[in-house]
């Protein structure tokens, strides 16, 4: 927060703010770099731009310029050994008396001669024959129970649709066995696209030289009473808030036929939309919670997601959340500590001496799972104060206990790790269209912050001038398996 100091009103004709001038000149000559600097500055002063700060604000490692509007990247998951049943006998005693029976699995992943373990982890069968495509959209396998007891059979419970069976080593007789095959995984290809933004600032009259009674703080730390500087500061912040929120809420809009149905009304051209962080998280892993968050649920949701991959490189996984989720997380830890009898230990931390009196309050911000995954909370202010939060407040979509907007009671598990030297989350820009600034000069004087333009030339007969910004933006998440959205629902 900065204070306003009243000064005298009058004309201002000095263009002597060197810091202002230098930033302005850089804006025209190297716009992409200046954009980063501003993001960093705003990110340090104000936590409304976490995603911009953690991508664009990190310099070259957090940004990738590309030549085309759409891009692809390769991913490789973990080798799996199981598959699920799509059709199998639902009655009788399958496998009894050593009889062979057929199971149809979803894919052709399972291999003849290999054995399968049922969902109970005990019952085992051997794949006697691969019968090829089945009649229920899967692949049919003929199996035989390993158990030599003639009364033993496979419970139909294990053969229900959706039940997973896992594969163990191939077993063969001592001689004259034939060979089998092996599975291998190729990398998958993911795709996303950029979107274009445009911001305009129009001025008229002598606004560029008008000074007002109040003194404003500038981005560079100084003060100014030139109104246009304050207006441009607001323009920049507005632009950055919009870009930041767009990085979160954008939904990918290129359909499977390669069509975009959102067309510009003026020229009929398609308007692209990138996949934002919320969509990436939601599409990766999504869960909801209710009145209270519990440690059990945290372990079963977030802990489960963290357990999906082998950790390599420098892990930097944070749980970005609103204040409401923070309270819920703290409540979950506190309940768990209390239930485990750590009441005194908790009390000692909660109540401490302060300035001759007492201070109450210390809150949980981290949790370590049994397998050493660390869940660290990071506050995302936009979930409490951003435009989505404001909307929730205005529409009465409020959490009944905390009184905070419902957007505040949600968290995003964000994997900002570096894998093989590459940051997992990067901002993507179109080469040459990263951040373009143009001035449409009329008779209205151009403020210093817009940069230098020829004095006498005008490009419009209308007495006004415009500052135009065009940018491209997209979000690249190499490995989305540790991304997740966990939200409280009414």
């Amino acid at each position: 927060m900065y204070k306003l100091r009243e000064v005298s009103r009058g004309r201002y004709d000095d263009r002597g703010y060197s810091n202002e001038e230098s930033i302005a000149n850089l804006m025209l000559s190297k716009p992409a770099e200046i954009n980063r600097t501003l993001t960093y500055t705003f990110g340090m002063d104000d936590d409304r731009f976490p995603l911009s700060f953690l991508t664009e604000g990190q310099g070259a490692s957090g940004v990738k310029s590309i030549e085309t509007e759409t891009w692809t990247w390769k991913t490789m998951g973990r080798l799996h050994f199981n598959d699920y049943v799509v059709y199998a006998p639902s009655s009788g005693y399958p496998g009894q008396g050593g009889a062979m029976f057929d199971i149809e699995f979803a894919t052709h992943w399972l291999i003849e001669q290999w054995s399968l373990v049922a969902p109970d982890g005990v019952t085992q069968v051997r794949i006697m024959a691969d019968l090829g495509e089945g009649t229920h959209g899967g692949y049919l396998y003929r199996v035989k129970l390993w158990n030599p007891d003639p009364n033993a059979y496979v419970s139909t419970e294990h053969l229900a649709t959706g039940k997973y069976w896992t594969m163990t080593a191939p077993t063969i007789p001592a001689s004259y066995s034939k060979g089998n095959r092996s599975n291998s995984m190729g990398p998958g290809k993911m795709t996303s696209q950029l979107e274009y933004h445009r911001y305009s600032k129009e001025i008229a009259g002598n606004i560029s030289n008008t000074i007002v009674e109040y003194e404003f703080k500038t981005n560079s730390g100084g003060t100014t009473n030139l109104w246009i500087n304050e207006e441009m500061r607001q323009f920049e912040i507005q632009k950055r808030i919009a870009e930041e929120e767009r990085l979160w809420i954008a939904n990918y809009n290129l359909n499977e036929n390669g069509e975009i149905t959102m067309l510009d009304r003026d020229n009929g051209k398609p308007i692209r939309s990138t996949a934002g962080m919320m969509e990436i998280c939601r599409e990766s892993n999504y869960a909801t919670y209710g009145e209270t968050l519990t440690l059990n649920l945290i372990e079963r949701t977030i802990g489960d997601v963290l357990d999906k991959d082998t950790d390599t490189g420098t892990m930097e996984v944070v749980l970005g959340c609103g204040k409401g989720f923070w309270q819920d997380f703290d409540g979950a830890m506190r309940d768990a500590a209390t239930n485990n009898g750590f009441v005194d230990a908790l009390g000692d931390k909660m109540i401490e001496e302060f300035d001759g009196g007492l201070s109450y309050g210390k809150y949980f911000r981290r949790y370590k799972t049994i397998d050493n995954h660390i869940i660290t909370l990071k506050h995302l202010a936009f979930l409490d104060k951003g435009s989505l939060a404001d909307n929730d407040k205005s529409n009465g979509n409020i959490h009944p206990k905390s009184g905070l907007p419902m957007t505040s009671h949600q968290a995003f598990l964000l994997d900002f790790s570096t894998y093989e030297g590459t940051r997992n989350v990067r901002m993507v820009r179109l080469k040459g269209q990263e951040h373009i600034i143009g001035i449409l000069k009329g008779l209205t004087p151009i403020p210093a912050s817009w940069g230098s333009v020829p004095n006498n030339a005008i490009s419009t007969e209308i007495d006004m001038s415009r500052y135009e910004v065009k940018s491209t933006i997209g979000l690249q998440v190499d490995n989305n398996r540790k991304m997740m959205q966990l939200k409280c629902v009414l």
Binding site: T75, G162, M190, Y252, T288, R300, C488
Partner: protein
């Protein structure tokens, strides 16, 4: 905390089969109401998932907890005391009972894999008479909802909320009459009724992007289909009979046009074959509603009143249903009051005057 976990995905229930058949006439005997509901994934995939389907695969959908469900399901103390001790393994007078119940409800984490999950919602009633009473009330709640205008989203939404509130209230009384055959799956069904990401009517699937599942009550849907076929057969017979009585046909036609929100001046200008087509279409699309119109003993008088309104002899106010004479004299607060006015012998003379006006 193990008993606090809820994970019943794809669970096969081995519920005890009924000991008393549905046709047993002994109302005091126990009764087993065998039923199930299916929770299906909407699979309304985003363009992002569709573009990357080969890598992302099908979504792993999980039904989690919600504030409403947790609060509502824990609010009926007697019901909670009846069901939860067996589920949690502690008695209702244990000092941690309420906290454990809350924890159970807040830990709901129920995976719907690939396609559908069938929940066993069967209920063992101690007496068949209780089943019959509950069934009667449930049918009344469902029929009330079926009357809602499906073309009006707002009205349908309000009707659905009312239906869910009433169904939940009814379900929460059932603990007095017996026990669910599969407690966990029954409670999961009760949770799904209150969980906003599960659509209770397929009409809402595309209206809300947060909806990820829908409930299919297969028994009820089959019953509805059966009912509809019966209604359609009756409607066909009624339509044939109606075509032989011009006065009643015109009255039903007028009522149908009103329900279709037709321009009434245009509707009155249609020739006989066009009118037949309109009514026939209505018979096909809404046989039950058509039968109600056909069986309405006041349908001709209603048509007379509506015709008088169209001709300006009577006036219906824009802001309510009040009907007055052209000079402002009050006839009735709504169409039913107006019918009573017309049927009142004291108004016989005026009624004849009005009817004569329509003949010219």
């Amino acid at each position: 905390m193990a008993e606090d976990n809820v994970n019943i995905a794809n669970k096969n229930s081995e519920a005890t089969k009924p000991t008393v058949s549905a046709f047993d006439e002994d109302l005091e005997a126990p009764y087993y109401d065998e039923r199930s509901v299916t929770i299906s994934c909407v699979h309304n995939y985003s363009a992002y998932r569709k573009a990357n389907m080969k890598v992302l695969g099908q979504k792993r959908e999980v039904i989690g907890s919600s504030i409403t469900s947790s609060r509502v399901l824990s609010s009926n103390a007697k019901e909670v005391e009846a069901y939860f001790p067996a589920l949690l393994g502690i008695s209702a007078n244990n000092e941690n009972f309420v906290a454990r119940v809350k924890a159970w409800l807040n830990n709901i984490h129920f995976e719907v894999r690939d396609k559908d999950v069938v929940l066993d919602t069967s209920f063992r009633y101690d007496h068949k008479k209780d089943y019959l009473e509950v069934k009667k009330q449930e049918d009344a709640i469902c029929s009330e909802y079926e009357k809602a205008d499906r073309a009006n989203q707002d009205e349908l939404r309000k009707a659905l909320k009312l239906k869910i509130d009433k169904l939940n209230a009814l379900e929460s009384t059932k603990y007095q009459y017996g026990k669910p055959a599969n407690l966990e799956e029954y409670l999961m069904y009760r949770h799904c009724l209150l969980y906003k990401e599960v659509a209770k009517d397929t009409a809402f699937i595309n209206s809300d992007t947060s909806i990820r599942f829908y409930i299919k009550d297969e028994a009820r849907e089959a019953e509805l289909r059966k009912k509809l076929i019966a209604e359609r057969k009756t409607a066909m017979t009624n339509f044939v009979e109606l075509s032989g009585t011009k006065e009643k046909f015109d009255a039903v036609y007028l009522a149908v046009c009103q329900r279709r929100n037709d321009n009434m001046t245009e509707a009155l200008g249609r020739d006989n074959s066009a009118r037949q087509q309109v009514v026939m279409d209505y018979v096909n699309s809404n046989p039950d509603k058509f039968n109600k119109l056909y069986n309405d003993k006041h349908i001709i008088l209603k048509a007379t009143i509506e015709n008088l309104i169209l001709r300006g002899e009577l006036v219906r106010t824009d802001y309510n249903q009040q009907i007055t004479k052209a000079d402002g004299t009050f006839i009735g607060a709504n169409i039913n009051d107006a019918i009573a006015w017309f049927e009142n012998p004291a108004n016989k003379g005026e009624r004849t005057i009005f009817e004569n006006k329509l003949k010219h």
